[in-house]
Symmetry: C2
Subunit: 441 residues, 2 copies
């Protein structure tokens, strides 16, 4: 059995070849993957049955949450979804080979900035086995090799899926060997973190602690977010009914996700009206409110109330729980968000355009919103076509990241024997022109 | 005296404010900096004289190279250059506030992707004091706060320059306090490396060992290059005179820089003709050739010949020294470059377009060139207007990096109370439209 370092080296070699593969061949490989999964559906479902049986035992022993077992199941319907998702990736525009810029350096010397794959990605995710196919298809589409690891509970399913994907893609002429490697143990993931020579970008998709662990233990750039502490700020000039609608959606539409609201900030001028109006739907939805002193006074009768502590301002509940704070000003809200938030997604509700402008400019988050629910911060909803992850860093890509986050560029210079010595800054006579060129490579 | 962590916190606070400062105010701050330096020239030159006097003593004691003393000197003429360089930054297009993309998510719900400053940069460079002004001006232009450290030999000059810059910029209304901090010790640099909570991007400009040290000791993303092992490959179908011209320029035009050629690869079919033609100019320029067996046989009479060892293929000489290897094929050349090179800049000389295409696609470097000297890989020569550094990573920016490497984007969503629950994927009726919008924010 090959070691992780061998797999990483093979992925690096494959990446260099994959970077030169045409869009047509990459799309053919995706077609082959979709067809291969369809043809192998019985085998895949059988492998999954074994994983699910083990997981059921763990569930009965109280060692695995029921939702995780449910998410693990791969049946005909889910496989149809997997296949449809691969086909939708085929339909996406090619992120590779675009001329982003073209400049004449001097007569006859041309510079092109062209989008290329990043190289080798390391992607680690939790138990949902359909992610194997999703990640594989985004990597093929963008010309990147990948080392991936799924959840332990899905080992047999992931292995069967990866095998079908690799074998199907290999049937297409021009697809290099070794572009996908499935890792199976935590030790292998720890190994990857050290391989900055071979792995260009890590994408950990999972819990807070895991993502933080990855970020703290590698020199490889990481695309991800440890926390999703999102805010809705209800401004003095908000329409109270609109604010209730947005806040309710941001908190309750789906609580277990990173773009759900965790802290609600309310301007003191509207606190009374707004909080009383919001209490009814929140109570119906069973939302526990962690209230600061001022909001506690207003919502003295709220049955699911608890006093907020300092730690609530940076808590990611991922649950029907919400921290609430009354603020004196827009500026206080912005500062609270920049101090306690996670730079993920934050929204202001207001009819005042100046307040909105100040919030959108002053809040230092990947997504900032005006009169909209934080739940919209998502690759599909943003129209990116696919989402590889959500990043809260400030380099390369930020917020929901689609295929464009899996490419970088290279500079291509074409001359006719040009030398610096012949140019003015090298002591020669040729002048730099730096004219934009209206052409692609 | 404030600690590094206080300075980093102050820089983070300043960055959030600086991100909202208009282009007009940022350009006024640059004007004020240029004027301030002009007005303070006597004081600056005096501070510099003290640094230079100390450096002369170190030189006499053999502890500092004569070139370093020369580079340290700040006189009227150099200050004019500094001032002109700040004014040229004013003239550059604003990298901030561009709408990169605009999409209608659904009726009345709009998504804008807008360029914004990265935040807080950590920039460490060697003794040239004019870099203080250059870095400060690029940071102001791009709206980034900065923690910077220059060379120890220039301590007094850097301190005087930084003070003038900060005081001048502060005279402009709207420029926040604390956007520039000058660090003075290595211990402070070590401190910065740990402050990933406050510093968003590190740009180490210096020797190989230092850059590698930074990359290995921080969780903060690093823009830089440890090595510049650049290649020229002379293909079988090259014009020998053109190849001699390109190779000579790439090696000798300026040897002490990262984009100078360090290894010359020659196809065996042209090796005899090309190497004999190249020998004369290389000999005149005093270039020592580290020859592999085959090239040594051809250049048996070359007076400055030495046998190449395995370590030569990854050596960055930064000197009049060149490794030479004869290869059997274009493919061998590409593989050699991808294996031993530093992914910086590599050039093919050939009249064969297929060979050029294969090389440009297959060589995995930030800049790849056809019939041009590697020495062109430079921000000024590429027409970027300014260069903050050269990167060999594969994330965010690559190759020579100008102002566009100092920005990222944020997503801004504008709605009218939109909720996910009202949309199709939330159980409602509103359909996503994902129509491109022809407008800026």
């Amino acid at each position: 059995m090959s070691t992780v370092i061998d797999q990483a080296k093979a992925a690096r070699a494959a990446a260099i070849r994959l970077a030169t593969v045409s869009e047509d061949v990459r799309n053919q490989a995706l077609e082959a993957m979709a067809d291969g999964i369809a043809a192998a559906s019985e085998r895949l479902i059988e492998a999954n049955r074994a994983d699910v049986a083990d997981a059921e035992k763990l569930k009965e022993a109280g060692e695995l949450a029921p939702e995780l077992v449910k998410r693990l199941i791969l049946n005909d319907k889910k496989l149809e979804g997997v296949i449809a998702s691969i086909r939708s990736v085929i339909a996406l525009p090619d992120p590779v080979g675009h001329t982003l810029d073209a400049t004449e350096i001097s007569p006859g010397l041309e510079l092109y900035k062209v989008s290329v794959p990043i190289g080798v990605l390391g992607i680690v995710f939790e138990s949902r086995p359909d992610v194997v196919a999703q990640v594989a298809s985004l990597c093929v589409k963008s010309g990147n090799a990948v080392l991936m690891k799924g959840g332990r509970e899905a080992t047999r399913t992931n292995r069967a899926l990866a095998r079908v994907i690799v074998q199907s893609a290999a049937r297409v002429d021009g697809v290099p060997e070794g572009w996908l490697h499935l890792l199976e143990t935590r030790e292998e993931v720890s190994e990857i973190l050290k391989l900055d020579q071979y792995v260009d970008l890590l994408i950990p998709r999972g819990g807070n602690a895991f993502v933080q662990h990855v970020m703290n233990n590698t020199n490889i750039p990481v695309l991800g977010h440890a926390d999703g502490v999102c805010h809705v700020y209800v401004d003095a000039d908000a329409s109270a009914p609109m604010a209730v609608g947005v806040a309710f959606d941001a908190k309750t539409q789906y609580v277990a996700v990173c773009n759900a609201m965790e802290t609600l900030l309310v301007h003191e001028a509207i606190a009374d009206t707004f909080l009383r109006a919001a209490a009814e739907p929140f109570q119906e939805a069973g939302v526990t409110l962690r209230l600061d002193e001022r909001s506690a006074r207003i919502l003295a009768d709220y049955p699911l109330a608890e006093p907020a502590e300092e730690s609530d301002w940076s808590a990611e509940y991922l649950d029907t729980k919400l921290a609430v704070k009354v603020v004196d000003s827009l500026q206080e809200a912005i500062e609270h968000i920049n101090t306690f938030g996670s730079h993920h997604t934050d929204s202001i509700v207001t009819d005042n355009d100046d307040a909105a402008r100040a919030f959108l400019a002053g809040v230092d988050s990947a997504s900032v919103m005006h009169n909209a629910s934080t739940r919209f911060a998502d690759g599909f909803r943003y129209g990116l076509g696919a989402e590889i992850g959500i990043g809260t860093g400030r380099i390369h890509s930020r917020g929901p990241v689609g295929l464009e986050g899996l490419v970088i560029y290279k500079y291509i210079v074409k001359g006719a024997g040009h030398t610096v010595a012949s140019h003015t800054d090298g002591g020669g006579k040729v002048e730099y022109t730096h004219k934009p060129l209206d052409r692609t490579l």
